[in-house]
Symmetry: C2
Subunit: 255 residues, 2 copies
């Protein structure tokens, strides 16, 4: 099977033009097939605020009412996605920007209301990569925004780490998939203030211990849970790192 | 050659959910390959206003400074485009939403500043339909937003009628192309207040007369100029009509 590298970028890496440029320069150096999944960073929050909408987050997840869904559709599907596409084209990569609605790529359902009503947030049901594979074989670089749909016309806001893991899992039926979660830190840190405290190899039982001890917390937990699930379902390698270390392969490796 | 129907929708048809639904229901009935090009209607103006940006139009064209470019990228490339894609998927059509930057589809240059500085408005240089044809052959329905790029990383705002005509012209090398400019009127009207005054067949010399007399004016002029140019370059049929008459083929036919 051919190699396919999936890079998920989020946080400051997509918010700051310089950081994004640096990432895309690293991305260009990756040989073989590649695919980019992006979050929206704080851009959606900034645009929402300008539009007079208040951002509410629960456990790092955005409460998405119908007005906020319009904002994330604009920001993730339009602004961030198409800027990245244009920037990749400028670097000689033939990119195409997609959401989970395009090609019926990612089918999801609206998260049921329990204690919390997340609004138009989608949990993934199904991934269809037929057209994606066709394009990857033509050396097209897909750029995926964190939006899905319910196949009945409703767009949904879905976590970008989840989308990266789900795509990696499904694509591992066709490619040897290397999944890199790329953000501003060098990997999973035992002490968030100390970049030298990177855990280089992390297995599931260690992760569960760290989680129980509160050493690993917040947004890192779903990222790692997604990562371990993908690893168990056949993704070749999963690395959590920063843009500078895409090429060195240094960072936290799930084992 | 296979038949390919290109529908360009704009005006109230994209602004009003009911009108858009009606259009998409008609669009579903078209047999053979099809492609949709959309404008943004007044949605960009509404969003810009909410963001505190003033919309300036010259001859029906939007002055696009860098902030307005962000708005049209969000609204055309994200909000309007992805809503249409999700709505087509709901109707069983396998749609993909694209801009001119995706697949390097439409290369443009920033319009030179003369008396008027249009800002980040792009005039089309080149159309590349390789990947588009590949997808059309897979029965994918492309949905194109009116954005282009300069291949150096700059997105540009480009008139949707122009995009439809340029795509129709290039795709007529591969398909028998039927291009429908679809809006709220039944066609070109000799009296804008009288729907019964439709000109059913319009040739270039009649158009030039009507233009000189001021009978045809405003946004209809570039639409028709684009249309006649596409017709002369090999597009099979060009019709200006409303959603209801896509199936009947009644409206203004360029001859």
């Amino acid at each position: 099977m051919d190699r396919l590298t999936i890079i998920k970028v989020g946080g400051k890496v997509v918010e700051q033009p310089d950081a994004l440029d640096a990432l895309l320069n690293q991305f260009k150096k990756i040989s073989g097939h590649k695919l980019l999944v992006h979050g929206g960073g704080k851009t959606a929050t900034v645009v929402a605020e300008k539009l007079g909408l208040e951002t509410k987050m629960v456990d790092g997840r955005r409460i998405t009412d119908s007005e906020m869904l319009e904002v994330v559709t604009m920001v993730y599907g339009g602004l961030v996605n198409k800027k990245i596409v244009a920037a990749l084209q400028a670097r000689g990569m033939n990119a195409v920007g997609l959401t989970g609605a395009d090609f019926n790529l990612i089918k999801a359902h609206k998260r049921p209301v329990t204690d919390i009503d997340y609004g138009f947030v989608g949990d993934v049901d199904d991934v269809n990569v037929s057209e994606l594979c066709l394009l990857i074989e033509e050396n097209v670089v897909p750029v995926i925004a964190p939006l899905t749909h319910d196949t009945k016309g409703q767009l949904l806001n879905t976590n970008a780490d989840t989308i990266a893991s789900e795509l990696a899992t499904e694509l591992s039926n066709f490619y040897k998939v290397f999944l890199f979660f790329c953000f501003e830190k060098r990997g999973v840190l035992l002490n968030p203030d100390d970049e030298a405290s990177v855990v280089y190899d992390l297995n599931l039982s260690q992760f569960n211990e760290y989680k129980a001890e509160g050493v690993i917390s917040a947004g890192m937990i779903p990222k790692l849970e997604n990562g371990f699930r993908a690893k168990m379902k056949g993704v070749q390698e999963i690395l959590i790192t920063n843009p500078e270390n895409i090429s060195t392969g240094r960072g936290t490796r799930l084992v």
